[in-house]
Symmetry: C2
């Protein structure tokens, strides 16, 4: 009882390497971000990429799905400070986060998983939605609801429909838009187009 006795009795023997744990999760996210589906992920590939023995993985997670769940749980939605001055500005900020994320392989995990594995891994999706998708959705929803309340958006606007138009348009550009990087002003143009509508 010299030091480091915080009540939880430290187990005997060599402690588990946190570095290895991080490397495993990083490798998992990297592979997913490269476009690999969950079913194509192999423990051996993760171990190899992480520079780790398979034993070290199986000691921590009993199967692939548990590992992926934990890996995805470390993904947090980057929550920008919304200035709250105008709904238009806040929407641009939120959608521009989507644009920026679409470029980083790491952040691409979110969209890759959300789009592809929706049906097959219900347990995984449930956690993943709660952790990574819901915060993004909630932020967008809050801005839209605030806009309705303040009169900046139509009083009869269906909130879900507003979310669909805004983030759907970003999604469309990401996957099917003109090739290459997304234009820097894409978020602004999407917001303005959605706000003013297609009709004259």
């Amino acid at each position: 009882m010299t030091i480091q006795e915080t009540g939880t009795a430290r187990p005997a023997g060599r402690p588990r390497s946190e570095k290895a744990e991080r490397a495993i999760i990083e490798a998992t996210l990297d592979l997913i971000g490269e476009g690999m589906g969950v079913s194509e992920l192999s423990i051996e590939a993760i171990a190899s990429k992480a520079g780790v023995g398979k034993t070290t993985i199986y000691r921590r997670w009993s199967n692939k799905e548990d590992l992926v769940v934990d890996a995805l749980a470390t993904l947090k939605a980057p929550m920008p400070r919304l200035r709250g001055t105008s709904v238009r500005d806040d929407l641009i900020v939120l959608l521009d986060v989507m644009r920026a994320e679409a470029g980083q392989p790491r952040s691409r995990c979110v969209m890759n998983i959300a789009m592809s594995e929706a049906d097959r891994y219900p347990r995984l999706m449930e956690r993943f939605m709660k952790r990574a998708v819901e915060p993004r959705r909630a932020a967008l929803r809050a801005v839209i609801e605030r806009g309705i309340a303040s009169g900046e958006l139509r009083a009869d606007l269906d909130v879900d429909m507003g979310m669909a138009l805004l983030s759907g348009a970003m999604l469309w550009h990401t996957k099917w838009g003109p090739e290459g990087e997304l234009a820097a002003d894409l978020a602004e143009r999407v917001v303005d187009a959605a706000l003013s509508g297609l009709a004259p």
Copy 2:
């Protein structure tokens, strides 16, 4: 030279079974429609589902990608007759086709492939885009351009942005909207929301 001599000399021996060929392609599309990615497709699973020997597949296609290319080539975009009375009506018809297709496993191939395998199979994607995606896009683009010309849509509207808002919103509802079947009036509501915009 009794009958059936159309210049292409009929090769000797038993002819290849067109029924088997159709069954193979059907099985391939079924598996893709069930959410199976191209890399998870196995020749053995296709053969089994089609009630066919592997030999019969390898006799026709030398690898999986060729088979998938041919299978996807049989997918044609269902092209509804557009009445052309109003842009709004035509947009609703086009988007409602998307809604209807989202339910049928067979037609889900288009979206599943288009969303998931974009990067990894460039040769496949090129053909697939040309055959199955482009016609849909062209139809939507034509309607939007007609609307701009007729004054039913804003003169300064970016056509790509219009397509993104409309089909992006449908896509969003398909993947992330409230669970269950898409509402029967979804296309109409999306079109009206996009036309009038979010602002008052």
